[in-house]
């Protein structure tokens, strides 16, 4: 019945819009993450390594200051013991002293990454000094493969958006189901001449509507010049991607709502599923450096596919056909888990 569908959808939408907590957790909370992360990682440049120069190190003093100061922050430190102590404490990445023609680098094992960087830089300075005069045969020119605009906001937005959608979809479905059952509204609806299909599709439509609203708000905020998100030409494929992701997360919420009895239990279960999944799926940070077993685990999670798919079309500018497999996986997941939800579904507590 058409009237029934519209009435239920309206009732759900009103219930959602008037629920401050739900509004906060689905819209504002993820947006806060975007603002915070977007602010923190705004300038991704490696900070210059601070090193101490013990006494006079001719090699450092002679090197062209412009090129060195780009990567090293050199402080003169006349007292050797004090300099070494400072390295131990982590105030300096390394301390350098000249021993005749030998350049000695003191470093701490505590920060091996920085120590490694410093050793590499100093090594190249030594090399350059050794072949002074001879013109270099090979030169290295580093170029980023992505558009130079791939700033952190470009991967933060798709990841956080996927997380926001998962919260909206999972919590929305689980809480509606549990609360409606607990307050006997499901029972009351059951006594009215509307089909289960009508009730479920009303919820699906509202969830999709909310997810698209989240997408709009996210993109709008990320696009302000301060964050500087740049959409790819195939960004419009984000919309069907978001719809598929919403369906997958809805199905998770319906299962969570089917076997929990109270709203609190339903939120706890939804949280237990969504939060670890968000971390494992690279919603908050890229998984590029993650161990391969973790990537394998991630590949079975719907959120991983949501993150990748949205990334591909929203910022990476891959052709729209490239996300069809991702969409298929999400829809398949939604179907399987959704079917499970119908098996677990009960109208009543008792």
């Amino acid at each position: 019945m058409r009237g029934g569908f519209a009435a239920l959808a309206t009732a759900m939408l009103r219930g959602f819009v008037r629920d401050r907590t739900a509004l906060f957790f689905t819209i504002l909370f993820p947006l806060m993450f975007l603002v915070v992360f977007g602010g923190i990682f705004k300038d991704p440049g490696t900070p210059r390594a601070k090193i101490a120069e013990i006494g006079q190190v001719a090699l450092l003093d002679q090197a062209p200051p412009a090129s060195i100061s780009k990567v090293l922050d050199i402080t003169k430190e006349p007292d050797r013991a004090k300099a070494l102590e400072a390295v131990r404490k982590g105030d300096y990445a390394a301390a350098v002293e000249a021993d005749g023609d030998r350049l000695v680098v003191h470093y701490s094992a505590a920060d091996q990454v920085k120590a490694g960087i410093v050793q590499g830089i100093l090594g190249s300075i030594v090399d350059e000094a050794n072949r002074a005069g001879a013109p270099p045969k090979f030169t290295l020119s580093a170029e980023q493969v992505e558009d130079a605009s791939l700033k952190p906001i470009q991967y933060l937005t798709p990841g956080l958006l996927a997380w926001a959608i998962s919260m909206g979809g999972t919590f929305g479905a689980a809480l509606t189901l549990v609360e409606w059952r607990r307050k006997k509204i499901l029972r009351r609806i059951r006594l009215a001449p509307v089909s289960t299909f009508t009730v479920v599709s009303a919820r699906v439509w509202i969830s999709i509507l909310i997810a698209l609203a989240q997408t709009g708000i996210f993109v709008a905020v990320a696009s302000i010049p301060f964050f500087g998100l740049r959409l790819s030409p195939t960004w419009w494929m984000t919309i069907p991607m978001v719809v598929c992701a919403t369906l997958a997360f809805l199905s998770i919420g319906l299962v969570a709502g089917a076997f929990t009895k109270t709203g609190e239990a339903a939120s706890a279960v939804a949280n237990l599923i969504v939060l670890p999944m968000a971390f494992l799926s690279g919603a908050f940070f890229p998984l590029d450096n993650a161990p391969s077993w973790l990537k394998n685990v991630a590949s079975v999670l719907p959120m991983r596919h949501a993150v990748l798919g949205i990334q591909d079309v929203m910022v990476k500018g891959l052709p729209w056909t490239s996300v069809l497999p991702e969409m298929g996986i999400l829809l398949g997941f939604a179907l399987v888990v959704g079917f499970l939800a119908t098996r677990l579904f009960t109208w009543d507590d008792v």
């Binding site: 009237g3 519209a6 009435a7 009103r14 307050k183 006594l191 009215a192 509307v194």
Partner: protein
């Protein structure tokens, strides 16, 4: 057309609890039927089986000649149900609530607004359901049950937890619904409610119907004495005991009470002695029938 509801020997057991244990009754069209009983007597379960919310383990139920279980789409538009708990959509106003239910039944919004008037909630139309008082919620939930003009209305303890004014107002509303030709089935544990509203009551306990019939007939059947009470000091207790037809006399220092099965003679005798100040005559009530049948011990 046969009776509106026919219930024949239904049973529903949960593990070792016999919630409904062989209940049969018939409700005719236009009747106001009450199911009376202490808490946990099986009233609600019986009602739920008749409404089609639950399947009976055995026995037969027909409503308008059709079986309510499994969910019967032909029956749903003809029955209106008010559940024990007020089940409302969260965060909707009274008007939105009623309009939503109206739409579920394909009833226009105007009819919903009209119904709001009928239950006296027009002023509260814009108030969220959560902010309504107990009585207002109860009235709204009855309005939700009636919005599609059902032929048969089920009410599960509609006046539980209401103050006396709200109860009386609700009674008027229910009586009015019944006078418009609707069949009403109600459960209650208030005896005065059953006595004033119902054409017929069934007294239930431990999943069975102990007695059923018009309230007046049940009371008459009990054959209990009439209580006549007058002010203390008008008549000595001993003299009262002398009166013919008096079975028992008690005097608590405020009121003198006489129990008799021949109230006319006793009243005449009291009038002769000019001892009628503060007179009160009370016959047996449904409460006496109820207590007689279900005993006096506390219930869960």
């Amino acid at each position: 057309m046969g009776p509106t509801i026919v219930v024949d020997e239904i049973r529903k057991h949960y593990k070792d609890v016999k919630a409904v244990d062989g209940v049969s009754f018939v409700v005719e069209e236009g009747e106001f039927f009450g199911i009376l009983g202490p808490n946990g007597a099986g009233k609600t379960t019986t009602l739920e089986i008749v409404e089609g919310l639950r399947a009976a383990d055995s026995g037969r139920v027909t409503v308008f000649g059709e079986q309510p279980w499994p969910r019967n789409q032909r029956l749903l538009p003809r029955i209106g149900v008010q559940l024990q708990a007020s089940s409302f959509f969260e965060r909707l106003t009274a008007r939105e609530q009623l309009r939503t239910f109206a739409a579920l039944y394909g009833v226009p919004a105007a009819r919903a607004d009209e119904m709001l008037d009928v239950v006296g909630l027009a002023e509260k139309a814009g108030t969220r359901c959560e902010k309504l008082s107990g009585g207002q919620m109860q009235r709204l939930s009855i309005a939700c049950a009636l919005v599609h003009n059902p032929d048969l209305v089920f009410l599960d303890e509609p006046t539980a937890a209401l103050d006396p004014q709200a109860r009386r107002n609700l009674w008027d509303l229910l009586r009015d619904i019944n006078h418009r030709g609707r069949t009403v089935v109600l459960t209650t544990h208030y005896l005065d409610e059953a006595e004033t509203l119902c054409d017929r009551v069934a007294i239930m306990d431990h999943g069975r119907i102990l007695e059923s019939g018009p309230p007046a007939a049940l009371v008459r059947g009990l054959d209990s004495p009439t209580r006549i009470s007058i002010e203390h000091g008008l008549l000595p207790e001993a003299a009262a005991r002398e009166l013919s037809g008096v079975e028992r006399v008690t005097d608590d220092g405020v009121i003198l009470t006489l129990l008799t099965r021949e109230p006319a003679g006793v009243l005449a005798a009291l009038a002769e002695r000019n001892a009628l100040r503060g007179l009160e005559v009370r016959g047996a009530t449904l409460e006496d029938v109820f207590l007689e049948l279900t005993g006096r011990e506390y219930r869960a």
